[in-house]
Amino acid sequence: MGWIHDVLAAKGVFAALIRAVLWAVPILLLLIPAIWFERRLLAWMQDRRGPNRVGPFGLLQPIADITKLLFKEEVIPDGVDRFTYVLAPVLALMPPIILGAGIPFGAYGVYKLLTPVSDLSVGVLYVLGISSIGVYGLVLAGYSGNNKYSLMGGLRASAQLISYELAMGMSLACIVLATGSLNFTSIVRSQEQPLWGISSLSWLQNWNVFTPFGFLAAIVFVVCMFAETNRPPFDLPEAENELIAGYHTEYSSAKFVSFLMGEYFAMLVYGTVFATVFLGGYNLLPFNWDTVEAHVPALGGLCHFMAWISNNLAPLWLIGKVAATLFAYIWVRATLPRLRYDQLMNLGWRTLLPLAVADLVLVAIWVLAVSTYGAGWGMVIAVVLMLVGLVVYVNIVSVGRRKSDPLASRSVTMVSIAPERVVIPEPAEVQPSGAG
Amino acid sequence: MNGVPMAAYLLLGLVLFTIGVVGVVIRRSPIVIFMCIELMLNAVNLTTLAFARYLPQFVAGRERGHTAVAGEMIVIFIMAVAAAEVAVGLGIIMAIFRLRDSTDIDQMNVLRG
């Protein structure tokens, strides 16, 4: 009668609890290195030293930080909407933690208990659903603060997250269409197939970033991922030079920490989703080692070794990929300035969403072509179509944009773009006066 | 769930629907009224899904799958319609609010803006 009955069955409750703990505890523990990683890396990129006093290499700095924040005095301002004020941090913290429940950590034979925590047949939808709950944390925080700045932050958060969730859903839909399943386990398994479905390339794995449409979807997904986690350059809801601290202006102590932690959890978990959907999940390198061995027998020992560690240390590789995504997060943060609000909306609605939809059409044509002409020609057709689309886009769409007034292309106007023309008064004519 | 009678789902659907109706009648804020309409739609969804889950056992042969899927289709279409309706309806509410600075439903008795 389906997974929920298995979970609720008397025998299964204990196993389910263990699974949940096995998923939640590593995520909680990963928080500490994640914060440290961000601070040190950011410092390195900005030519600073970063935290290096507490513990070896400053590794214990996050613990010290969080402890300090937790022991600060908790101030609940007058005039807040008490119920939503307390509810908001909970809603900001919980969804990222439970978001990754459908993600497999290793091959089923080796990591039976963890692959995955619960094998949802609609895993991708689950991710989208839970991440949409995450919006409420920010929106309610913004609303309950009884503060104009936090309200603005909440409004921005809701608009931003809704906009980018669409594009994110579309980019995931591309992969779902290509894979033919909403289940994360089978998405990973399909990425272990020969590259592009061509059997002579069977020594390479079919990671979704290596396919043309998957690459496009991956770009869209990464941008949406940054936006969904409110990371720079998409941190408009908490833009400190406009909104003080945005939606969490009125929060202090433990509640503030839970927003902070929620953001990092979201980074980690979206990174996990990205690694699972696009980067081949828990596989170490995009090679099918047994096929490599068949092709090049001289490398047999290496292949055995690699296959073994790829299989048995699978969670490590997944975490490694997550760390790589984390690196991308920080790199982008160190590099790009914050977007303006109209740029944000234009990027989401006029660039990413059409791109993702075009990609979906491309995938559909690819699937059709593969079933008609076979894998090789299908890929050729897909690539040709993609190039044609690119040429069309560059030559028609962007030329049309460039001709127009750059200011006219803004659709959302939050503030008037050009400053009011300052009328410099003509130097007043010197009134002739008798005195001279 | 084993042993849960279909009547339970139907009853819940009925209660939710009634709450929605009552809400539409007694509340003044159009937004809340809108939310109550959503509640009614959801109650209908629940009922339909309960039928889709329970009834196919009485249908023989190939028609069984069709009976089950029909209920789910209805739910999907209701969801899509609700989404479209909310987009337009909230747009209208915003427009009215911009026009007259009030969202009291009793004052919205003029069709011309």
């Binding site: 389906g2 939503t84 609609v122 939808l125 689950y126 659903g129 839970i130 949409s132 709950i133 929106v139 309610l140 309200l151 409004l155 997250l161 809704i162 399943s181 | 849960v4 009678p5 279909m6 139907l10 819940l12 009925l14 209660v15 009634t18 109706v21 009552v22 007694i26 509340r27 804020s29 937004i31 809108f34 109550c36 509640l39 959801n42 969804n45 629940l46 899904l49 309960a50 889950r53 329970y54 899927v69 789910e72 739910v75 999907i76 969801m79 899509a80 319609v81 609700a82 989404a83 479209a84 309706e85 909310v86 987009a87 337009v88 909230l90 747009g91 915003m94 427009a95 600075d101 969202t103």
Partner: protein, 164 residues
């Protein structure tokens, strides 16, 4: 249990004076309903429910509520009226009539009580729904897509009016 909670939160929708709170309790109702869908073995619909209602529709509602509150209007404050109590009672009485008429025949002696041990093959699974959606239900599907398009155009038009 879930049912009782969802009834309570649905009552909250109607009787909270604060629009944000009633929106929140509606979100809770939707979440609980999606749990009920799970118990009905409709996984796909349960998560779709969460994405569509909790994720999109209710956030829009909250957005609008917050925008309207921005201008510090007492717009969302309600007036109470004894007539309304009567309306409430009538509403529930009506529900009672329907309940007696429709639900009572389905209570335990009836055949339909029994839970089918096996859900129909592929019930609630994405494959079955997808197949049905694009074969038997192709026309309604297209109609819905047109409807959504009209909805998009309409709401954009309503939003644009401000610019004039």
């Amino acid at each position: 249990m879930v049912a009782i909670l969802s009834v309570l939160s649905a009552l909250g929708v109607v009787f909270f004076k604060n629009a944000v709170r009633s929106a929140l309790s509606l979100v809770a109702t939707f979440a609980l309903l999606s749990v009920l869908y799970l118990t009905l073995d409709a996984q796909l619909l349960a998560w779709t429910q969460l994405v569509v209602y909790a994720g999109a529709i209710m956030v829009l509602f909250l957005f609008v509520i917050m925008v309207l509150n921005l201008s510090k209007q007492p717009a969302l404050i309600e007036r109470r009226d004894p007539k309304l109590m009567l309306a409430t009672l009538l509403g529930f009485g009506f529900a009672g009539i329907i309940g007696v008429q429709v639900v009572t025949p389905l209570l335990p002696p009836s055949e339909i009580v029994k839970d089918p041990v096996l859900a129909p093959n592929g019930f609630g699974q994405p494959q079955a729904i997808g197949m049905a959606l694009f074969t038997d239900y192709g026309y309604p599907f297209e109609a819905i897509s047109v409807l959504l398009l009209v909805g998009i155009v309409g709401s954009i038009l309503l939003a644009k009016r401000r610019l004039r």
